[in-house]
Symmetry: C2
Subunit: 463 residues, 2 copies
């Protein structure tokens, strides 16, 4: 049992103002796990939101996690499972006893079950599907028939619909008598006799309108229909762009087959942005709870690509071996050229990748954006050409060395900005994710051009 | 006037399946602007969502933008203004005629007006505030009294509240008779007599419950109250973490003063992630529509910091001038060491920065995360030590050179991963945004350590 002071801590605010997991709470969890005290564990977790319990499970080490699952099994409910990071969900599922797992997934809505099973191995997938009732299993399997990362996978099948000719009164009576309403819904979707969506009526508007008013007179101004095969990233974009709260999903025949709500779209938006951040940094799918091997697997490819581009740059340098042997100052200054080019390239590349993702670059403004980047390259190039040129002159006492640095700095920054913008645009046109592949190309270009410019100009002017 | 074929294009789907602005539509806009054809312009824009019209305005060049605003002034409504990127909003506002501007802002809800005026110069701010009715102006000024980027700035003041002892029937009658309901609301907030929030009732639940049921019997399981001074990033986190749709905002005395809805939280989440992406790439606040000067201003600070760190690295190299003069192969290989270290550091830095932002690193797992990163450094270090060592031996025919590269690659990757993880954590503890400042520190550490290790080991083993 917890004493009173500990209990007071376990109020609704499961995390402090900034939502970081409470240290004291974590200490209670750890000591309950160590001593196998089921009562304390249940008591401290009871007031917490499943998302916070999932966070606690994620932050445990593997041994404690296994203990947690054994000790908490009677309480382990579906929402915790659906909140757990997919990287450790498989581990958790394999630790859960089959009957606990079956009980847990039976609580969940079909879209949450889909979210869980889609990343699982075939065997675990079967275990979960067979735990479901016939009706739920069919629902889940039908959602799984849509392509991965499509609107169809994201939607829930339970839609509150009404014929377009209904009045407010008819809709209210219908809602009041329908025992099977979804947990959360914000709109009634108006449909024509062929189940084509024609508008959304918000519940607030429904409540505040007279019973005799026709539903079609109070539909929302903004109404967006989502095709079931639309990419989930585009779905998230539509919700953000048009401030949607819920939107009906339609099949190829424009019939309503489900509905997507903004909370799911927000999760996708978050995942997409996180993914872009990771890809830009050269990291595959990853999580803090990954093991060393998993982490290395996610990072090795980019490091390997980088090794190849670095070797290419070295081969360029090797062509100027004689020049460097005569002027060791060049070797000392080389990293500055490479580093500045790399940074400028990263800047313009990141802007271009994000502008593509947010659909802010189009054929209308692409020319202007490229001209601007070249302008930025020239301006920053001139600024750093002058400053670094002067530093070079004073450091090494050779005026001509300053000129060499200045010219190559200018060339390098212009090329960096040009490549940083055009490479992502070209990759996008070729159907390659620019966040994934741009970095490697751009780094190669700036390194090779940077070293070549610096060393060849040095060869001409200094020898 | 548009011909039929052009008209067919202007249907509800303002953008194609992937929501990119339609080329043809843009062509009509541009030709209408060139010929000053107000009718065509109005006709092509009429079916579009204000967010899409705002996108079109953003993609125009400055001359066309001014023309657009002159030609479209009678139609220019508030929602377009609130959708326009804040970077060009000032430009648009100064182009709008005062009466058009006044008319436009009068349409808007108080939180949208706040969103517009908070970034404006004092003079423009006054123009807009004076255009508002007395009541709206007071509402906007009261929201502006909350700190920037706080929940208070984000909330709307119009809250639908009900006393905690009310029944479903009483609430329904109240909603039906209240003419002043907000445009969008999803919950009724139950309050005690002192206006302290005690629970949320969803409209769906309200509609499907019997009139005699008490509201407090059907409150939502998840109920999160947001303090008005909470940072908006934490608000967005709470909405994502707890799948909130709306949450009441309270003042210091725990009285309800407003409500935040998920669509606003989603915009904040998006902005926060975009900001982190830009900061990680060393870019200040920026947009594709920025001018060259604005862009340079956003990028120069990081390039300048980078120049300093690059010079530090060069100073380290300069200490080994004699060694390099004897072994030019070292100059050829140096960039490989720097580049691999920089990339490994970026990887672990990005993971750490994001884990801090998503509150996935805590005192419970920080030790484990650092140990893992060191492990990753050792493992990747060994892999690239062996491969690059072998390449070095074959390339230059000196076995000892391979050993030098191998050892320094290992040291460099371990240091890179260690610094990449610990620097953001330390900066966070010091209250400095890790996304902003980590890059500079970590680059300096990896460059300096990398070059020093490589060249000093070379000095010992090769000479």
């Amino acid at each position: 049992m917890l004493n009173d002071e500990q209990k007071n801590e376990s109020d609704l605010g499961s995390k402090d103002a900034s939502y970081v997991i409470d240290k004291q709470k974590m200490a209670i969890v750890l000591s309950a796990l160590a001593s196998g005290n089921r009562v304390d564990l249940t008591e401290v977790l009871e007031p917490l939101h499943p998302a916070d319990i999932a966070d606690i499970i994620e932050q445990l080490n593997t041994t404690d996690r296994a203990r947690f699952i054994r000790l908490y099994d009677t309480e382990f409910y579906g929402d915790i499972l659906s909140e757990i990071d997919e990287h450790i969900r498989e581990e958790v599922i394999s630790e859960l006893k089959p009957d606990v797992l079956a009980e847990a997934v039976r609580d969940l809505e079909s879209d949450d079950v889909v979210d869980i099973v889609e990343d699982l191995e075939e065997e675990q997938k079967e275990t979960i599907l067979s735990a479901l009732d016939e009706g739920d299993r069919v629902a889940v399997q039908s959602l799984l028939s849509y392509p991965e990362q499509s609107a169809g996978r994201l939607m829930q099948r339970e839609v509150v619909m009404a014929p377009e000719h209904w009045s407010v009164g008819m809709a209210i009576d219908f809602l009041r008598n329908d025992a099977n309403l979804p947990e959360q819904f914000y709109h009634i979707v108006l449909v024509d006799p062929r189940l084509h969506p024609v508008g959304n009526v918000s519940l607030g508007k429904l409540m505040s309108s007279k019973r005799s008013v026709l539903l079609k007179e109070i539909i929302e101004d903004v109404f967006q229909v989502i095709p079931a095969d639309q990419d989930e990233a585009d779905v998230a974009y539509a919700f953000k762009q048009y401030h949607l709260i819920s939107a009906p999903v339609v099949d190829m025949e424009n019939r309503v087959v489900g509905v997507i709500t903004i909370d799911d779209a927000m999760v996708v938006l978050d995942e997409e942005l996180e993914e872009d951040i990771m890809l830009l940094a050269g990291i595959g799918d990853s999580s803090v709870s990954d093991t060393i091997i998993e982490t290395v697997r996610g990072r090795l490819p980019w490091l390997a690509v980088n090794l190849v581009t670095a070797i290419l740059a070295s081969i360029v340098i090797a062509q100027f071996e004689a020049t460097i042997a005569q002027f060791v100052a060049l070797a000392i200054l080389m990293p500055i050229i490479a580093s500045m080019g790399g940074n400028a390239a990263t800047q313009s590349l990141t802007v271009a990748v994000r502008a593509i993702a947010t659909k802010d670059i189009s054929s209308t403004n692409i020319g202007r954006v490229i001209r601007r980047e070249v302008g930025v390259g020239i301006l920053t190039g001139l600024i750093f050409a002058v400053s670094m040129g002067l530093i070079g002159v004073f450091w090494f006492g050779t005026a001509m060395l300053g000129v060499v640095i200045a010219i190559s700095m200018l060339i390098n920054l212009v090329v960096a900005n040009l490549a940083g913008t055009t490479v992502p645009v070209i990759l996008e046109k070729l159907g390659i994710d620019p966040a994934l592949a741009s970095g490697a190309f751009v780094t190669t270009v700036t390194d090779v051009v940077g070293f070549f410019a610096f060393l060849s100009i040095a060869g001409i002017l200094l020898l």
